[in-house]
Symmetry: C2
Subunit: 447 residues, 2 copies
């Protein structure tokens, strides 16, 4: 068997898989934050195009991928499924370890799977410009890539601390032709109010979301795009797991364990959801989601309705949450620092179908370095959590098991994190129980 299993383009999935009709219990609907009544589609119209709102609530199991989107996907898809033989040997496991390499996209992560789709549906409804927020920069890069391919404008509000610490991300976003501003910016009321209050404010994802949404609402030709959490985002990511299914069949194997890192949850859900019907049908396949001990929403959070952002602007979502005002410790895996997670993923976690695990950041960087020095490639700090969980799984699993983990992104624009690691400057954060208890108190009371 070749090291890399390539799916021919002719077998690239032509539909996304929508897990909504297959969930073990009906998904709790998003609620209007004022009335606490279920949201109606028209409430989302100012910020999302109709096609994506329809996908968000679709009862259809499969949704056709438009040919134009497939055409852009072909720039990097299908992505290879890689047999990590050198890693297996170094661990001394009899398990086979595969990784699905989503770092091969132009933006360097799985994010373009949904960025391209979201941009295309917006363009089809006459939208000229997309606004979004980005933390560490992966999502902003992906959306600016997508807009570049489709000839759309793109405005990215990047959390100021990341904007300053990761200048390469901003440069790449600009080179794709998008504009990027440190948030808080003077371009929105949300930004200006914050800057008046604190001129040195370094920003937060919640504030950047507020700026991006405000920008979209204020301009008729502009809508907003979100890179994780929502149903339609997870939907677009399912192309990944569907490819894994085909590639494992090409390898003459079936996966026993599917492993991924979890922040908002879209990469992990994209991997596991296509296997959900098999699992519900009794297939012996385990889903393992790895998160930081500094931000353990799935392992320690409350499964409750909560706001998606600090400012309480978003709809209420039922999810595992550490509280919407939670400020995570400054771990380097910026993409895993969200207080909640995708409602679809949380639904199946609550049903006991996923085993969440939490790790310290140092052990994850150890795993990343081990991977680098065996498999050769530099993983993103987020991805290091999946690697750590895959290695642990290989140690515990029955001999000969097939383990597939999602390699969500490369770490070439995260080298400052590795510098801190090499210098022994990383701190292991673990969220104290008091903070988790407090989260329950601030969740809105929804009966």
């Amino acid at each position: 068997m070749d090291t890399r299993i390539y799916l021919p383009e002719s077998r690239m999935p032509r539909q996304w898989y929508n897990a909504l009709p297959d969930l073990p219990t009906p998904l709790a609907p998003p609620l209007n934050p004022e009335t606490k009544e279920p949201l109606t589609p028209d409430m989302l119209s100012p910020i999302f195009p109709d096609a994506l709102i329809a996908q968000e609530m679709s009862p259809e199991r499969f949704i056709d991928i438009p040919e134009d989107i497939l055409d852009i996907y072909r720039i990097w898809r299908p992505t290879p499924l890689v047999r990590a033989r050198r890693l297996e040997k170094a661990i001394g496991t009899s398990c086979r370890i595969f990784y699905k390499d989503e770092s091969r996209s132009p933006a360097g992560s799985h994010k373009p799977n949904t960025a391209v789709a979201q941009a295309w549906y917006n363009k089809a409804e006459g939208v000229k410009r997309l606004s979004t927020e980005t933390g560490a920069g992966q999502w902003g890069t992906a959306l600016s890539f997508a807009c570049s391919m489709l000839g759309m404008e793109c405005t990215v509000y990047m959390v100021k601390v990341s904007y300053e610490q990761k200048p390469y991300r901003g440069i790449l976003i600009r080179t794709y032709g998008a504009e990027v501003f440190p948030s808080p910016s003077t371009r929105t009321n949300s930004g200006r109010v914050m800057l008046e209050r604190d001129p040195d404010c370094k920003g937060s994802l919640g504030l950047a979301i507020s700026e991006a949404v405000e920008d979209a609402v204020a301009h008729g030709d502009t809508k907003y795009a979100l890179g994780s959490v929502l149903n339609h985002v997870l939907l677009h990511q399912t192309i990944c797991g569907q490819e894994v299914k085909e590639q494992m069949a090409m390898a003459g194997a079936t996966p026993d364990y599917l492993v991924g890192c979890v922040g908002g949850g879209s990469n992990f859900a994209g991997l596991i959801l296509p296997f959900l019907p098999d699992k519900l049908d009794g297939a012996n396949i385990k889903f393992i989601g790895a998160e930081p001990k500094a931000c353990p929403s799935l392992t320690k959070g409350w499964f409750r309705y909560d706001y998606g952002d600090v400012s309480r602007l978003t709809p209420l979502l039922k999810m595992h949450t550490l509280g919407h005002s939670f400020m995570p410790a400054p771990i380097h895996a910026g993409g895993l620092r969200y207080h909640g997670s995708a409602p679809v993923l949380c639904n199946i976690v609550d049903a006991g179908l996923v085993e969440p695990r939490a790790y310290f950041q140092k052990e994850c960087f150890d795993a990343a370095k081990f991977f680098l020095q065996t498999e050769g490639f530099l993983p993103a700090p987020e991805t290091s959590h999946a690697i750590k969980a895959a290695i642990e799984t290989a140690k515990e699993a029955p001999a000969g098991s097939n383990i597939v983990f999602l390699y969500s992104g490369h770490g070439l624009l995260d080298l400052a994190s590795y510098d801190a690691y090499n210098k022994g400057q990383l701190v292991n954060y673990e969220l104290p129980q008091e903070t988790i208890d407090k989260a329950l108190l601030e969740c809105p009371d929804v009966s």
Copy 2:
């Protein structure tokens, strides 16, 4: 036809192609810089292992690739040949443009093809540590990757100005487990002498070579590795052109133009040399080498014996040279700032078998941005020269021609260059004729 043409591992070349016996004229031998007599193998023994010295002078057309090296190559090889359909469409050409994607290696360039081979042959002869120099950092990254895979130590002397400007390169090298020092360093006599003379010296490639060679000579368990120019380096790179041959056959096409960028010449030679016998047999295939107007060794240099370094420590090589004391303008394509080029490549350039072209750096960055915004991926500044030449070729070539260019590396660690480009800060340098005339005067007199 799929966008990416993947060669199965079973068809990965198992031999390197050695062009020495097929050159149109015998290669002028390297000369001892003192006696100006041809170099004997034993003179190279203090710095290179016997196997590589033998390859440097081998009369064999094909040299078996050891199984251990193939095993490491499989981490990223065979690399895909990509049909650049979106680029073709944007140019409006009827030509088919393909690119051989060497950026897919762990180090992000073609350099590991020889780094792995050199490290392995050294290890086989008991060498524990390799020392080398690096300018922009691509070669240092590749060698530290190779040494990591083989459990060897690696010491990299990195030109101080690059060490300071490109901190991510140094971090990546260290994460692979190698040590990297800014050159001039206090670790060698060459470095100390320079620092005494000028404590603020920012270094040069020539000085870094001196430090690396001195380190190797001073330590019995250490040898030296060079990333370009020499015959054995070009030999190892021929795996790339051989793969292209197979992949074009899979596409049912033959290349009409092979295009690459030229600094030391190893990536371009790796692409074209396997096609040299075909060309000599009358095949209608054109070799186009692209270099910067700021460092136009092939288009403007003298084809003479010259030293490989500023300090006149290396053997004399017959090559196109701008003079060994030439200090190129500070263009961002650091890998194309060498005063000479590989003797094997210069031999066939002198025979009229290659069309060299020189470009300004701004037009190359324009081409790189055009590529980014059509094909999605960010090229290295060196690679931008190949892209520029490929686009120009597509405009001039007969309808329906097949153009293959070598995508030698990604630009993710070169984003500072793109920042300068985006801000309109790039300068177009062109080497004045006086400098070229002066080069002739400083070439040693070899009859």
